[in-house]
């Protein structure tokens, strides 16, 4: 459907801040919106669709639309976690195709670094009753996936470390990245074991910031001056504990990726650049397998020896440094995945990491907790 109807990403903006003690969450959302609209060559009065994912304050889109003083005729704040902005871009394309809006604005922002999130569990959430009384953290839950993957497929901590190493190779060229120091697999393995088998350097950063993307219909996109990035495929999925048939080594990316690739009519081997949500190294490894970049169980071998490093390996990934090194605003990395894919397709990534002739890219997100229940959302984007 998306391919036939064709929607375009025409504006993308990542807030340069990684620490914003003097800005509100609403202000960050709004600054991101302004940046993406300026990038597109549009104004706020052109926006008639607004998408956000629960990280916006107050009455969610109602508060933000009012704060931004927008006049919208379509809004969506489906909150599937950190992958939500990828889903929102797909939903924006669908809404545009259905005639519900013409210019859709997607924003994400937060400041968990300046104002640590005091997560208040919802006592009516049915699964939390069986989780919160335990000693546990989200880190432990991802570590369960890593341990099982090691058991089933012989994946090693060193192979996981290669994912961080690749991210650090890219982050050294990003002046805004939180962690710009080049690291080796030895550095990752020597970092403290936080939740065995995951080390501290297997984890993403905690940063303030945000980003925004503008999606529009072909006629408007063609009237603008910026390079056009077409949304040619999208897919989503949700996977839980399946009533007790828990799967720790595969994710809903199997579904979201298969749908997106079928819709786009392309294969994983056609993809020149991939943004893969990287809350932890294991999140990347499992997604790469599920998206079909390698066989299930071969992810460790696939990521080793720099295969994800731009200019070195077969599949350059997260060339901004990703969540592992650069930015994980609002503890949700979905929007930055899209933004770096857009930079690559426009040829506007840092020259040191720009993929030559990057015509086809994938962006993928994992929301909430792989290992208990999570969402996946995949986009396939094409330079026109």
């Amino acid at each position: 459907m998306v391919r036939d109807e064709q929607a375009y990403i025409v504006g993308a903006y990542e807030h340069p801040t990684r620490k914003a003690p003097d800005k509100s969450v609403a202000q960050l959302h709004a600054e991101c919106a302004a940046g993406a609209l300026a990038d597109a060559g549009l104004t706020k009065d052109d926006v008639d669709g607004y998408f956000s994912a629960g990280d916006e304050p107050g009455f969610r889109p109602v508060s933000m639309v009012d704060f931004l003083n927008l006049k919208v005729r379509h809004c969506d704040f489906t909150d599937i976690g950190g992958s939500a902005p990828l889903q929102h871009i797909a939903h924006a394309a669908q809404a545009i195709a259905a005639g519900k809006c013409n210019v859709a604005l997607v924003t994400l922002a937060g400041r968990p670094r300046s104002a640590p999130v005091n997560f208040q569990p919802d006592v009516t959430q049915p699964d939390l009753l069986w989780e919160r009384p335990l000693r546990q953290s989200l880190l432990d839950i991802y570590a369960l996936c890593a341990r099982r993957h090691m058991y089933e497929y012989g994946t090693t901590s060193e192979q996981l470390a290669w994912i961080k190493v690749a991210a650090s190779h890219h982050a050294q060229h990003n002046p805004h990245a939180m962690l710009r120091k080049l690291v080796t697999t030895e550095d990752v393995l020597a970092s403290p074991m936080v939740s065995d088998p995951l080390h501290r350097l297997d984890c993403c950063v905690i940063s303030d910031g945000g980003g925004a993307v503008v999606v529009t219909r072909p006629e408007i996109a063609k009237s603008l001056k910026r390079p056009r990035v077409k949304v040619i495929g999208s897919g989503e999925g949700i996977q839980g504990q399946s009533a007790g048939a828990v799967e720790l080594t595969a994710s809903a990316a199997r579904q979201s990726g298969a749908i997106a690739f079928a819709e786009a009519g392309v294969q994983p081997s056609d993809i020149r650049y991939a943004s893969i949500y990287d809350s932890f190294t294991i999140t990347v490894l499992i997604a790469l397998e599920d998206l079909g970049f390698c066989e299930k169980g071969q992810g460790g071998r696939f990521v080793a020896d720099g295969n994800l490093i731009s200019g070195v390996g077969q599949l350059p990934f997260n060339t901004d440094g990703g969540g592992l090194c650069s930015n994980h605003p609002a503890m949700r990395g979905g929007i930055t995945k899209v933004i770096e894919a857009v930079r690559q397709l426009r040829g506007e990534a840092d020259p040191a990491v720009q993929v030559k002739d990057c015509a086809l890219a994938l962006a993928h997100g994992t929301g909430w907790l792989m290992g208990t229940r999570h969402s996946s959302a995949t986009l396939i984007l094409e330079r026109e």
């Binding site: 009753l129 369960l144 939740s195 504990q241 048939a245 720790l248």
Partner: protein
């Protein structure tokens, strides 16, 4: 936020907590499709029947995966335990040196309110 608050908002699972208070482990089993599930609900996640029975279980199984959190002073083990009846459940494995654990280690339920004021089902090495 306490376990008691969660239980108060989950009246369908009262039979589980009543049994647990008596140190008995029960599993929800559907009387229509005859399948067991985890985590417990008052409606079968296989067929959506509300005809749920609570079946006595020895609470035995083996470790399906585990992690050892070392952030604080005292390491703890979060695990998935595959019960003999089939379902794989999230829990803590307690009372063992984490270094002695592996996937496949046989464990048995214990009710220990140390981590919480509610009788949450934990597991110990058999």
């Amino acid at each position: 936020m306490t376990g008691t608050d969660f239980i108060a908002h989950s009246p369908e699972t009262k039979p589980f907590w009543d049994a647990a208070a008596d140190s008995r482990f029960v599993l929800p089993r559907c009387q229509q499709c005859h399948r067991t599930h985890w985590y417990p609900r008052g409606i079968c996640p296989h067929c959506l029947s509300t005809d749920i029975d609570w079946q006595e279980s020895p609470g035995e199984g083996e470790i399906h995966s585990f992690s050892v959190n070392r952030v604080g002073n005292e390491p703890y083990v979060l695990a998935y335990v595959a019960l003999t009846e089939g379902p794989i459940m999230l829990t803590n494995v307690v009372g063992a040196d984490p270094a002695t654990l592996s996937i496949g280690t046989r464990v048995k339920v214990i009710f220990n309110a140390a981590a919480s004021e509610v009788p949450v089902p934990l597991f110990a090495v058999r």
